[in-house]
Symmetry: C2
Subunit: 234 residues, 2 copies
DNA sequence: GTTGAAACCTGAGCTCAATCAGTTAATTTT
DNA sequence: AAAATTAACTGATTGAGCTCAGGTTTCAAC
């Protein structure tokens, strides 16, 4: 059997990226409609874009920056995904009979977000099937990713989860084996469903074992294949 | 403040139901196309409908029965959702650049499943925006539900998770406070991300505390409001 | 430069829940 | 009806990972 038909199993990444442009699928008139019914807002690092449970009024298009999408209840927090440049956020709020946001969003870095009127976006989905097909694609890709993380967080132990998140950050966000982390250890905890202390301990362990190098916010993955094995065997 | 504007927080249910008919949104010609390119298959209790990682060739429409949708890797298993009559399954496999199923499906009871050609389904999504808008609705509703379970399984301890699943089964599947469970204790474990033994212990505890009555497969919820409080506080 | 706050790190103790190693009950097969 | 298989249950033990209670570093503000 060649590699092509090999089953890859479950992906465990938490970052989502949009490669194609949804905007290009709209007709010129539809694009004008979007332009006329949206505004671009600058957010500072650490600001809240929207809150779970609030009425959904806009779709958010992240033109620039890095944000987290998360659930919060009482003092418990779970980061669903990180989103970078060119992500659409808030689409999950589109289902009839519902008008509440199913998650909160806040920024890690200074970000530029275009806020698009929800009713207009809905209307375009209803009238342009090329566009809505593309959105279905995006939703399904996102869903597959969430499933992977769901599996990771419920079935693996700490080693595997930390390996998952490190590989994901390296591959999807920074596209480099060394990077400056804009997230705190507490955020890594919310991403991996573990306590801040456990994140620190686990990363120190990885450092002692020569898997990564680390000085506070700057991280370098040294032995990626071993990290992948840790990720795989949980 | 009236109850209407109260934020309800995160929902934690694992069952998904389709109220509306997607079929009715198709034109007569499109319906014919579906009819000509689908077959209805009978599955026996316990049979596997499709496997994670296999090539996706069909969309599954559950005409009759009860199935589980789950992830499996090595000997670890996680049930993503239970689906009843009139559910569409396999839509998540629709995204370009992917042709693998992101989950496995198997039956709990004898089931009748209409298998619809994936390319035809895709074509209809691309040409009928009413239809694709409806599918977006379904996907988003499902996503909101998965988020709720994700939170439940990663943030709550055993008591809360068992309360969640019991309330969900009662409300969404059996629509009654007493029911005959078609799932084994091991399945409840896969649904709640806990070991079979822990499921048994927790349910016995609930029984001893007068929250539920239980004889093997038959279960009755006695104190629903207390179960809801347990669900809420984890 | 000093102060304060926030983030990072460390060790000890404890708790929750998995594992293991059984027994009992229910179901299916012969 | 007996045997075999599967599912339900129980108790004891173990350990992973959380909590708590500190200490240290970093960084921004004054």
């Amino acid at each position: 059997m060649s590699q092509i038909t090999e089953t890859k199993g479950i992906s465990h990444c938490s970052v989502f990226e949009f490669e194609q442009s949804w905007y290009a699928l709209l007709t010129p008139e539809e694009q004008l409609l979007i332009d006329a019914n949206s505004v671009s807002i600058n957010f500072r690092k650490g600001e809240t874009v929207c809150k779970l449970g609030a009425f959904a009024s806009h779709i958010y298009f992240l033109e620039e920056g890095l944000v987290k999408v998360y659930l919060e209840e009482r003092n418990k927090k779970l980061i669903l995904s990180l989103s970078t440049k060119n992500s659409l956020l808030g689409i999950a709020a589109i289902f009839d009979g519902n008008n509440k946001l199913p998650y909160s969003v806040s920024t890690y870095t200074d970000s530029k977000i275009r806020m698009i009127d929800l009713q207009i976006f809905r209307q375009l989905l209803k009238q342009n099937s090329e566009f809505s097909y593309h959105i279905i694609n995006l939703l399904n890709e996102k869903t597959a990713q969430i499933y992977g993380r769901f599996f990771s967080l419920t079935q693996k132990q700490l080693h595997g989860r930390v390996a998952d998140i490190l590989l994901c950050l390296s591959n999807k966000i920074f596209k480099s084996s060394s990077f400056e982390l804009p997230l705190s250890r507490a955020d890594l905890g919310d991403l991996t469903g573990m306590s801040t202390e456990s994140v620190i301990r686990m990363m120190k362990e990885f450092k002692d074992d020569g898997l990564i190098d680390m000085h506070c916010k700057s991280i370098e993955l040294l032995d990626i294949s071993r990290l992948e094995r840790i990720s795989e065997f949980g």
